[in-house]
Amino acid sequence: MSEMVRKATIAEIVNHWILAVSCILLIITGYGFLFQLKPVYALFGSNYTMKVVHNWTGLVFTLSLFGTMFNYLHEALDLSSDDWNWIKMGGGYLTKGHVDVPPMGKINTGQKLYYLAILIGGLGIIASGFAIWLVQGMRTLTLLSHLIHNLCFVLFVVAVPAHIYLGTLANPGLLQIMISGMVPLEVAKKRYPKWMKEIGKL
């Protein structure tokens, strides 16, 4: 058995799954609202039930998004010239074979940018969502919130499928990190050299 290192804590994995499931439920009900999709409403029994599910799932999503800030925010803000070079070569995703990308830490540039986009878009969709839900009698605020909520929604429906693809099909083995949290040491050395150096494994 090759040596394994822990990449994600149990708390992080649980929180990520809460975030993922709530996010997808919100997207599905979101499309239901956006296009008045009767089959989606039918899944929930009544129009009103779907709204209740959407709103309260929004609260779950809010809490777990705040939870991610303990896991990824510090790392995501730690940008260097390596990140810029990583972006310039598309993270190696634009070439068929293996390419050497600049050394990465625990999360790579793409994940950092994805996280920051989700965090900013998430705060926007959360704030506007609660405003639509709870604030009454302020027409301009409701209209602005409606606009922001939908702008952020577009970001989510583009970014989330890309994130799912990159975490599964595009990177075989990566999904394991969100299940057991463990990565073989040899793999980690190749993918996360900066992090390995930090913890003295490289």
């Binding site: 129009n47 709204k51 209209l143 409606h146 577009v154 429906v157 693809y165 990177n171």
Partner: protein, 259 residues
């Protein structure tokens, strides 16, 4: 599209403020037919009562005191109610299927059972018409869709003693108002044509109506741009992932010989 009224069979209410005597029989008839409860009111120094539309007041007579060049005191009476727009902001923004719907006579009616209480229709309405009842459900004039479907007039028009409210085929009402000498009919073309149309002698704003009523820009942008983008975005992301997988394939940590 079910959203826009059928031009051939569109009904309307023609409001002629000139002949309104401010008796408010229309308000009473509406309450009576729709079994709307009374409400606590407030004296705001005018005969306008209740002060504004409410969940239990689908129509009101607005009393405006407006001086003119020849007359220092003029009292204008005008019926305020849902405009039953052809291009209705409330229907556009409503997320709940069937909550706000178009009847075959062109009325904008609602179904409280299907309303989810989000209040977006309030924000989307150019005329500040929809109200919410104590159960947090939409409540507004529905052109007595239940009466007109049976060939009756709406309760308000039935009651009006002077002809200030007239119900009928929209085209015919417009024609008759023009024959009576009203050059411009308010609502003839606004928002695709309103279902409450007004024969004003003066500028609409004297009666409390916007010269050019519009659905909020943000709602139009959302409808025309963001809604399609939400589909194109998702489709693009999924298609992009599949194409990437087919053309470039999964990421490799090191150079491997293709088997």
């Amino acid at each position: 599209m079910a959203n826009t009224p059928n031009k051939n069979n569109r009904k309307a209410i023609l409001v002629t403020p000139e002949v309104c005597i401010g008796c408010r029989g229309c308000q009473t008839a509406c309450k009576s037919w729709n079994q709307l409860p009374g409400q606590k009111t407030k004296n705001l120094g005018t005969y306008q009562n209740p002060p504004d539309l409410a969940s239990s007041a689908f129509n009101i007579i607005r009393y405006s005191e407006v001086p003119s060049e020849t007359n220092p005191v003029r009292w204008l009476f005008v019926s305020r109610r849902c405009m039953h727009c052809a291009d209705a902001g409330c229907m556009k923004i409503c997320p709940a299927p069937g909550a706000i719907y178009r009847t075959k006579e062109g009325a904008v009616a609602f179904d409280k059972e299907k309303c989810i209480g989000c209040r977006l229709c309030v924000a989307g309405c150019p005329f500040d018409v929809p109200r919410y009842d104590k159960d947090n459900k939409i409540s507004k004039c529905h052109l007595c869709y239940d009466r007109i479907a049976e060939g009756l007039q709406p309760a308000c028009a039935k009651t009006c003693p002077t002809g200030a409210l007239r119900f009928g085929d929209r085209d015919k009402l417009i024609e008759s108002a023009k024959q009576a000498g009203y050059g411009k009919i308010y609502g003839e073309a606004d928002l695709g044509g309103l279902g409450s149309i007004f024969a004003f002698k003066d500028a609409p704003k004297l009666y409390g109506y916007a010269e050019k009523p519009n659905i909020p820009e943000s709602v139009i942008f959302w409808h025309n741009v963001l809604k399609p983008l939400a589909v194109i975005g998702l489709g693009g992301a999924v298609a992009g992932a599949l194409i990437h997988f087919a053309v470039i394939g999964p990421h490799k940590d090191e150079e491997v010989k293709k088997s």
